[in-house]
Amino acid sequence: MKKFLIGLLALFSYSVKAQLLKDVSESIHGNFEVDAQYYNKDTAIGAPIVPQKILSNGFGNLNYIRGNFSAGLRFESYNPVMLGFDPRYQGTGIPYKYARYKNNFVDITAGNFYDQFGSGMILRIYENRGLLYDNTIEGFRAIITPLKGVTVKAMIGRQRVFFGLSPGIVRGGDVEWNLNETFDSLMAHKKTKVTLGGSFVSKYQTNQSPTLNEPENVGCFGGRANINHGGFNIYGEYAYKINDPSYVNRYNFKDGQGAYLTTSYAGDGFSIMAAGKYVDNMSYRSDRDQTLNAAMINYMPALTKYHTYLMATFYPYATQPNGEMAAQGEFQYHFKKGSAIGGKYGMEVALNASVAYGLDTVNLAPQNDARQFHYYVRSLRPGEKYFHDFNIEISKKINKKVKGTFLYSNQFYNKDIIVENSSVNIYPNIKTNIFVLDVTYKYKTGSSIRFEAQEMYTKQDKGSWAVGMIEWWPVSKFFAAVVDQWNYGNDDPSKRFHYYLFNIGFIRDAVRVTLSYGKQRQGIFCVGGVCRTVPASDGVALTVTATF
């Protein structure tokens, strides 16, 4: 019977294609990535023993588009998952598949989808394949444009948790209204652009606690506004969540709320940006007992500079969903070509500062009740300090062949809170001073050498580190690189290791193959707002990615 149905479906689709839709554009595209690593035994650096010797992560996407219709799927396989990722990613399957129809009025998806409401403070369904983050919803979604400038979204389904689904059901709706598009004749050419939005999300999960009266339906709602006027932009969002005891908030019945405001002004060659955020008990998951990054419904990104240099990201920060207030400011200036400071080729300077504190709370004694409240917020003053990063980055092209970037960053890191998720004081706060020099020398068209020298001074944790890197592109299709991270400041002289890594890579159009050999140091890895320690490793790794 099933074979018959499949055959019928295939025949039908073929005949439809042959007869009706001849002039509709059609394509099939996809991408894939396979990572595999062979692990050497290296107990000195603390690398765990891998009994399988080889671990691999891989996925392949296939998307078919025909006019307004599209369908696709993703195959994933972890045999088993590589070190550093959540070990619950085990096995092989097709956790993502969808069929979608979209025209100017309606956009309907059956199957898996990704979406976000506003900045994601109450709902953000997304994937980051490199970090193995995927909280896709499997269900239905409709996006309707009933009126020019108005977008209405409605969705229902269950979230992916590894190769299964979360026990909770997620329902959500969102309305976004772009006033300028609606009032075309009045506002279309006005310089001031206004967008308003409002959303509601609710999750359902049965009460499973023998002692607590866990709420089965938990709602969360929010509103937002964006105003743009030329180079000026302001965005604000507020969200409120009703009682939602969970593993992450230690089964606290307190309501949650979050607020986010960011504003910027960008002129010709300069810009200024300021942002602030307040988060109180806003962890929101479709499975209240889940840990790490699984079954997260919302997204609260850290309000800090997104560094890419190894030492500047040594101690990364993630928003503390149980309570945080944070602020960030940035000033950028582009000294023009030909100016006194800019010289012949110009120069860019960026000053950035970010801070994060806990809330000023008062703890409550346990109550003799099936609903437990753990604290109240006493004032809007900052509580315990979690993080800061004050940094300056200068980029300059010196001549036709040489350009460079200098970065200085001063950071403060509360390891107990950020990594251990504990208010008990075990580790000292880590204070670092980081210097980076990155120079590219282009010796002929398509050929270049890039050097990086980095230094991180600290008296805490594992002490100071130095990094040296050379990346050579003899032709633009091939590169070879060597990096050495040296923990020269470790208090224990026997642990002053060199973590060297050799890398070669080939790129041909949209295909990239890289091979690396060497050691990875233990590090802190933040995904989906959760930071954790990933182990050191030693071995040979191969990565192949392609888009077609």
Binding site: L5, I6, L9, A10, L11, S13, S25, E26, S27, I28, H29, N31, N61, L62, A71, L73, K97, K102, D107, Y114, Q116, S119, R124, Y126, R129, N178, K193, T195, N226, N228, N233, T262, S264, A266, D268, G269, S271, I272, M273, A275, Y299, P301, Y306, T308, Q332, H334, E348, K442, T445, G446, S448, S476, I507, D509, A510, V511, R512, T545, T547, F548
Partner: protein, 170 residues
């Protein structure tokens, strides 16, 4: 479940067994820097080629590439009429920086926000930087992942070849 998947695969294969093209730009809704929406299938350049560059504010090679193209962009436009569309895949964390980076750098490209990564997914972009070259008829004819100093020269050679109607390796 497995049977459903098998049938889906069969349907897809049946539909595509007969034609296999580079394809047009898929229809995805993304945002302008001022918050208004635009459908990516409406990207056009009066019959001239379009370069679509996926980038992010935190991606150093992406910004290097776009900076380097910017130095020659006026000449490129004069000679070939090519247009660069820069698609930022920044999410809520870094999205406010898109507008400040673009203005500070003085990029004159069309810049859009793909903060939900819908367009990135539809174009099967694995990592940034990733550039696509679209010919005057709206067909995607070439794409390239990653950036090395000097890659913009190869990109521009390809733009000129597309205008001459030469076939590019895909």
């Amino acid at each position: 479940m497995k049977k459903i998947m098998a049938s889906l695969v069969i349907v897809i294969l049946c539909c595509t067994a007969f034609t296999f093209e580079g394809g047009k730009i898929p229809s995805v809704t993304i945002k302008n820097l001022d918050g208004s929406k635009i459908n990516t299938s409406t990207f056009s350049n009066n019959g001239k080629p379009i370069i679509i560059s996926f980038w992010a504010t935190w991606c150093k090679p992406c910004k290097k590439e776009l900076d380097n193209i910017m130095e020659d962009y006026a000449d490129w436009q004069k000679e070939t009429g090519v247009k660069v569309i820069a698609i930022s895949i920044d999410d809520a964390r870094t999205m406010p920086k898109v507008i400040t980076d673009v203005k500070t750098k003085g990029w004159t490209y069309e810049v859009y926000l793909d903060d939900n990564q819908d367009f990135q997914r539809a174009m099967n972009v694995n990592m940034v930087p990733h550039v696509f070259l679209v010919d005057g008829k709206g067909d995607i004819v070439w794409s390239h992942n990653s950036y090395a100093e000097g890659d913009e020269a190869i990109l521009y050679e390809n733009v000129k070849r597309v205008i001459k109607g030469e076939k590019l390796e895909h």
